[in-house]
Amino acid sequence: MRTFKTIAAIISLTVLIASCKKEFLEEKPYSFVSSEALYNSDAGLEAAINGCYAIMADFGGYGAGYLTWMTVGSGGYYTTQGPNSDMNTLTYGPSNLWLTNNSPWDNFYSAIKVANDIIAKAPSGTASDAAKTKIIGEAHFLRGMLYFNLVRMFGGVPLRLLPPTQDDINMARSTKEEVFAQVIADLEKAKTMMTATPSIGRPSKFAATALLGKVYIHMAGNDPASPNWAKAKTELLDVVTNGGYVLQPTFGSLFAHNNENTKESIIEIQYSISSGPNGQFTNYFAPSQTTLTPKAANGPFGRNRPNKDIFDRHRTQYPGDPRIDVSYVHSSVTLLTGAAQTIYPNNTTNRGWPYIKKYIDPDYVATYSNRNFIYLRYADVLLSLAEAENEINGPANAYQYVNMVLSRARSSVTPAAATPANWAGMTQAQFRDRIMRERRYELIGECHLYYDVRRRGAAAFKAFLLEHNTHPTFNPSFDKTYPTDDNSVNKLLLMPIPEKEINTNTLINPSDQNPGYN
């Protein structure tokens, strides 16, 4: 019996010791914080919104995926990236490389998830009311901006406004109109909550106003009778009157080395050479091994290059425009070996391409650089306002806004250049045509081309593609012919919903794919 007692004692003791441990079989997190830790302090709220910016700025978003779609995918660029050759020929489908990996779809939804989390959970946290208002406002702003990107790229998309739970991971596509309505609601809400003055990398409420103006312009499409033109004008005029933004004195200073977050910049995505989000602007645009990036003996990729017709249009229209030398690397480059290398237009072989110069960071050494990405700037607001005004009342009152941009362009060099001359004496139709071109010249490389060539409808888009195919220096050995049959043109107005989404989302079937991609 003694034996049994001893045994029983030992066993009960062991069980007791084990179960008395305070957090027995409870997981103790070491390397991550809880939602309480995040939303119960002002600093935690800051960290939460930084998380949203960090994601959308990263590789799949503005860092590389979005920029690749907005350039190469637009029909105005060429890429040397082999696996992405289907984008080069505008024959991409739902399994395109940049929809499979590092897809802006995945990236933007990932950032939306953060915004949703903040909007859902921050209000019940114990952070200060001021911080809550500001950060929740920014979350609405970012969510509006991200859905605005998505609806322009893909049309109606799943409209997720709450953090997902395991029971609602599937979601059907909303209509385009529903998404636009949500974008407007978010931006309106943001306007009432965000601060009136920006801080570094963090936009003010006028960013929401300006973006709202652009939303209405996009919604107006090619319809001169659309009430959205007037709505756009109201918002954009508010920005011009009250926003406090000014054009930089010279076009060049806007993209000058280390001159960032200027008063012209409305929404600027921040990058740093010491990592953080992975922005590939210098890497993807700058030519390889030239004195433009003297510290990078082996880089950069220089893979996303504007088509010849894009470059030629600008210099034919405005010979001597100071913006050309700021926007493009052309004619020749000096290699790091000291040798000169001719490029377009001096060279029309397969090396004969111009490059986008705006993002070249002379400090670039690796894939990272300090070069920020300006998502929205004041000149765009002025051009957009001019566009809206022209649609509503004709050109008379619209010239002033365009001419502000043109005059800054001329005075970018001393003595001031003769071109681009101020506009005057146009018909409404002429103005409309010119303003769309003007946006290409002023904003080349800034990820607006994709939308600008599509938002006025299939006919305008087809004309744009034909300009490329029929360009005088088009060389069939190197240049890719874009498809211009009606089916292809209509199909290309929207991007395909990524294959991964269709494969995993039971509420989106192949039949729900955008037209032409099945």
């Binding site: 390397s31 939460a48 897809s103 991971i169 690796a366 990272y368 989302n505």
Partner: protein
């Protein structure tokens, strides 16, 4: 490469010093009578190591190299038991009048052999579950540096696959098929009682967040358990055997028991040297062939020829980058007991060096092992086990989710231009990345691992029936991995040199309280039982950091501080606990009927309240028909046992914190400085619970002709439900995946193994053995909605993309309810379009076709080829796998062969997408036959024309990968010396490994699975390391 800091001599000094310390433990004895004798086998050969025990209290000795023994006894009226593995046990009355002469008769499996069954042992005859045992021979143990490889082909129901093939690369072991759709199907390893549940855990890949193209070759987590120290390996296969391991037993359990000290002190020294080279090179185009091919492409595109054919210098990159590798293994061990038999020790130490056949790859390892048993009193016993290992590894870059192939040395070796004088200057230290030398010049992957594994156990014997044991054990491991990409590599080129460091620290400890009971009641009733309470705790820290932009590349992996773009340091720490109560009762009636009840209640920290605890019961019974009266005296059937059982076991192999809503760290930028951010990391799932496998097993054990022939047949059926799956979620949720319990899989199979002593004459014996396993798995439920896959409506999902680059960027597998796991999913083709066929209206992928293009089969008849035309084009699961061996001894000479093989499985030969098309990519060399056999209007044929490019996964890339391989063939000779000599015996062996393989597979090796731990990529060969063939010589000395 410097891998020689740990010299063999230093290891020996340490081992010897330990030996000297322990040797004086021999103590005083009171016994009076000395019994001496000699044990030989039926051929008259002396038998070494036979255990000689006095019946009553297990006191005894073992025979020396000449078969002699002497034992001091209190009086001569004792009975001695002589037992030896592989021989029938004998009981003989002792005598001190004359030297005893014992002749042992060989059997294949002894029914009295002790089998380790988890938290205890049982005699083979009393085992009710499906348990296989391997006792590795020295010559086999020397061939393999890790335990997992030792299992290959030797046990029915166990499938072993090499994933990377680099020495030190991880090996995948599956017992009875795939149970889980999660990554980890590895069995639980238990080494001398210490649970090792994390063999696939490796350092974090520092580059994973930076670029999707930078994979990292996985390394084995079993390092440090030296096969030469292993006494036995038990494989628990069915649920009645594994239920005692509860929530970790579902994938089977491999119990490794190391050697314990016994007998007079014996020193053994083994030395092994091996020469190995690639077993196969692929016939790529040579310089001339490649030049003609490229010239032909140039002509097709309207350009002038690129190469003159006369001045080309040929280079075969496969020969250039591979070598004849030299590996060695030296080990010394000391085993023995003190004269009073109260202290038993086994000490071993050694050094091994394993060179890879790809240049610069290989590893060096030194280790020390101590097993010590001490009787403190009649009631209290102490056992201590400790092993310590130091390992240094250098790897080449091979298999991973890599880009176009410039990121893999193996693929680069195949596709690089075979023209030496058309490369950039090779003496230039900045060799650009378009040439395979760059991987030699510009890449390092070094790791250093230190591991300490040890335990301490105290047993207290209350009386003859009850004893109590407490075991404390710990497994501590740290590993640093350093990967350098110099400017010669694509990654390094972009960033002026890139260095990633990663660190892993794993602390594991366990406490076990075990109470055992064993009693024979009135001869007819045998009862034994085990009751245990255990707790274990795992604490894991992983960290990594990257630096880039090195102004000097001279220091490579050691120059971390010279990089100028330092990335934020990543660190993650986690812990997991399991608390269990376990029990087992064995009841035997009349030595004929045995029933085992076992169960384990596990509580795990990984699950939320309410789901933390689960109970895993099992029951099994055996009927020893051979003991029934009608068979008892049979001369033919010496043993016949029928076994049946069923039970439940679990799998909790998920990362901790799955039930939490976690926020992870990130960084944004403000004014070019970093500011920290936090982002939600997962979709919370509080409902997570165990994955449960229910299994039924029935088996028959048979022994014929005095155990000269044995056979075992097992049938099983198992069903795993609530599969823990990392389930891909729509990207529109903002997440990639959720961990969920969903779906059901079944595996059923038949296993057969046999051994036989075919010939057993004086001087000559012939033995054979073999096994065959048939497993069929089927997905029963995935928890998905039925949706459209081409022309079918399936409940299914598609596997992961194979690579991120140009080639093979599509997934290869589909997981489909009603079918085996991982069926190949792609396009069916039917040769190429031949001249004269009507092709004017034919479209493929929206484009018109030409003669000589691959002809895809239009499954849906829509007149075009697209993703909707994909169908099932193959099955990666074998019909059966097998292994067999044969041994011949003639006097002192022995010859053993071991074959293994597989039948009916297919492999997606991914390299073919790149090298089996004469697609005209000038950066690619291709297989000679894909150029020479290419379709031409004159010649016709079924290889696509020159200039035709196909990037789709098609049926011709799926190949039959069945094979039969002569895994090892060993010739041995054993010298024994007369008693009293310093050296007792010398054994010499010569072994050939992989001497031939019969297969239709055209890649490097049919036994390949490049992504063996990724259940989304099954049966794919993507840049895997070539297999090797080797010859080795070894010598074993006994002193």
């Amino acid at each position: 490469m410097t891998l020689n800091n740990l010299s063999p001599s230093r290891v020996f000094i340490v081992v010897f010093s330990l030996f000297l310390l322990l040797a004086p433990m021999a103590a005083f004895t009171q016994d009076k009578v000395e019994v001496k004798g000699y044990v030989k086998d039926t051929d008259g050969k002396p038998l070494e190591g036979v255990s000689v025990l006095r019946k009553a209290n297990e006191k005894g000795t073992i025979t020396d190299a000449n078969g002699f023994f002497s034992l001091k006894l209190a009086n001569a009226n004792a009975t001695l038991i002589f037992s030896y593995v592989g021989y029938a046990t004998q009981t003989v009355k002792a005598t001190d009048k004359a030297e005893m002469q014992i002749e042992m008769e060989r059997t294949v499996v002894s029914q009295d052999e002790v089998v380790v069954i988890g938290y205890g042992t049982a005699k083979r005859k009393d085992v009710t579950g499906a348990v296989s045992t391997i006792k590795p021979k020295t010559q086999d143990a020397l061939q393999f540096n890790s335990v997992d490889n030792l299992l290959k082909g030797r046990v029915a129901g166990v499938q072993v696959q090499q994933s990377a093939g680099d020495p030190g690369g991880v090996v995948s072991v599956k017992i009875r098929g795939i149970n889980s759709l999660r990554g980890d199907n590895e069995p639980l390893y238990v080494v001398d009682g210490v649970i090792i549940n994390n063999v696939t855990r490796d350092n974090a890949n520092p580059f994973s967040t930076k670029t999707a193209n930078s994979g990292q070759t996985k390394q084995s987590g079993l390092a440090g358990i030296n096969p030469l120290d292993i006494e036995s390996i038990e494989i628990l296969k069915d649920a009645s055997a594994t239920a005692i391991y509860g929530s970790r037993g579902a994938n089977g359990v491999v119990i490794i028991t190391t050697k314990q000290g016994k007998g007079k002190p014996i020193i053994r020294y083994s030395s092994f040297i091996e020469l190995s080279k690639a077993s196969k090179t692929l016939p790529m185009l040579d310089a001339k062939g490649y030049a003609s091919y490229i010239n032909e492409i140039q002509a097709l595109n309207g350009f002038s020829p690129k190469y003159g054919l006369d001045t080309l210098q040929d280079i075969n990159w496969q020969d250039e980058l591979q070598r004849t590798a030299i590996s060695s293994n030296n080990r010394i061990s000391v085993t023995g007991n003190s004269q009073d038999n109260k202290t038993k020790y086994f000490l071993a130490g050694g050094f091994l060096s394993n060179q890879g056949i790809v240049q610069r790859s290989g590893y060096n390892q030194g280790d020390i092992k101590i097993n010590l048993n001490q009787d403190i009193s009649n009631r209290i016993k102490l056992n201590v086990t400790l092993s310590s290992v130091f390992l240094k590894n250098s790897m080449s870059q091979s298999t991973e989710a890599l880009g176009g192939g410039d990121n893999s040395m193996i693929i680069k070796m195949l596709v690089a231009k075979p023209i030496l004088n058309d490369q950039v200057d090779l003496s230039d230290p900045n060799v650009p990345y378009d040439n395979p030398y760059s991987w030699l010049e510009g890449y390092d992957d070094f790791s250093e691992e230190k591991r300490l594994l040890g335990g301490l156990g105290l047993t207290y014997k209350f009386n003859n029936a009850f004893s109590y044991k407490i075991n404390l054990a710990a497994d501590y491991k740290t590993k640093e991995r350093k990967r350098w990409f110099g400017k010669q590599t694509f990654n390094g080129k972009n960033v002026n040199g890139q260095l990633g460091l990663s660190q892993l620290e794993r602390k594991f400890y366990q406490v076990e309280n075990l109470l055992t009971y064993s009693k024979n009641i009135k001869r007819n009733h045998l009862v034994d039982g085990t009751l245990g309470v255990t707790y274990d705790n795992e604490n894991l820290s992983i960290s990594s950091v990257i630096n880039e932009n090195f102004f000097s590349e001279a220091l490579r992996t050691d120059g971390f501080g010279y990089g100028q773009i330092l990335y934020p340091y990543y660190r993650d720490r986690s812990s997991a606990e399991v608390f269990s109560i376990l029990g087992r009762v064995n009841y035997g009636f009349k030595n004929k009927y045995i029933i085992t009840l076992s169960g384990r209640a596990d509580g795990s920290s990984k699950f939320a309240k309410g789901n933390k605890f689960s109970f895993f019961p099992a029951v099994a019974a055996a009927w020893r028909i051979g003991e029934e009266d009608f068979l008892k005296n049979s001369k033919t059937i010496t043993n016949l046992k029928l076994r049946a059982g069923f039970g439940k076991s679990g799998n909790q192999a998920i990362d901790p914190y799955g039930t939490f809503a976690r926020y992870g760290q990130t960084y944004y930028v403000s004014g070019n400085t970093l500011v920290s951010g936090a982002v939600p990391e997962n979709i919370q799932n509080e409902r997570l619970k165990w994955e449960t496998t229910g299994q039924v097993n029935a088996g028959l054990d048979m022994a014929l002709f005095k155990n000269r022939f044995t056979a075992t047949v097992d049938w099983y059926y198992k069903k795993t439900k609530d599969l823990l799956q990392t389930f891909a979620v729509p990207p529109s949720t903002g997440y990639n995946s959720i961990v969920k319990n969903i779906g059901t899989i079944e595996n059923k199979g038949l296993e057969f193994s046999f051994t036989g002593l075919v010939l057993n004459k004086k001087d000559v014996s012939v033995s054979v053995g073999g096994n065959i396993s048939i497993n069929r798995n089927k997905i029963l439920d995935l928890g998905l909605d039925v949706s459209k896959f081409g022309i079918y409506d399936w409940e299914a999902y598609i596997g992961s993309n194979i690579s991120n680059g140009t080639y093979f960027k599509d997934p290869a597998n589909v997981f489909l309810v009603g079918m085996p796991i991982g069926m190949f999913y792609g396009y069916k083709t039917n040769g190429v379009f031949q001249t004269g066929e009507a092709i004017a209206t034919v479209k493929q992928f929206g484009l018109p076709v030409k003669y000589g293009d691959t002809k895809f089969i239009d499954q849906n008849g829509d007149g075009d080829i697209g993703p909707a035309d994909k169908v099932i084009i193959g099955n990666p699961n074998p019909d059966f796998t097998y292994g067999f061996n044969a041994g011949l001894t003639y006097k002192n000479l022995s010859f053993d062969v071991f074959f293994n093989g597989s039948y009916g499985n297919e492999v997606a030969n991914g390299n073919k997408i790149r090298i089996a098309n004469a697609n005209g990519n000038t950066l690619n060399n291709i297989l000679a036959e894909s150029y020479y056999n290419a379709w031409t209007p004159a010649k016709g044929g079924n290889w696509p024309r020159v200039g035709y490019n196909n990037l789709n996964f098609i049926d011709t890339y799926v190949e039959d990968a069945g094979f039969l391989r002569l895994a090892t063939a060993t010739l041995g000779y054993n010298f024994s010396f007369k008693k009293g000599k310093f050296i007792k015996s010398i054994g010499v062996n010569v072994t050939g490994k992989n001497l031939f393989t019969i297969t239709n597979y055209t890649g490097f090796d049919p036994e390949v699975n490049s992504f063996s731990f990724d259940k989304g990529r099954i049966g794919v060969d993507w840049g895997s390391y070539p297999n090797l063939k080797a010859v080795s010589a070894s010598i074993n000395l006994t002193f």
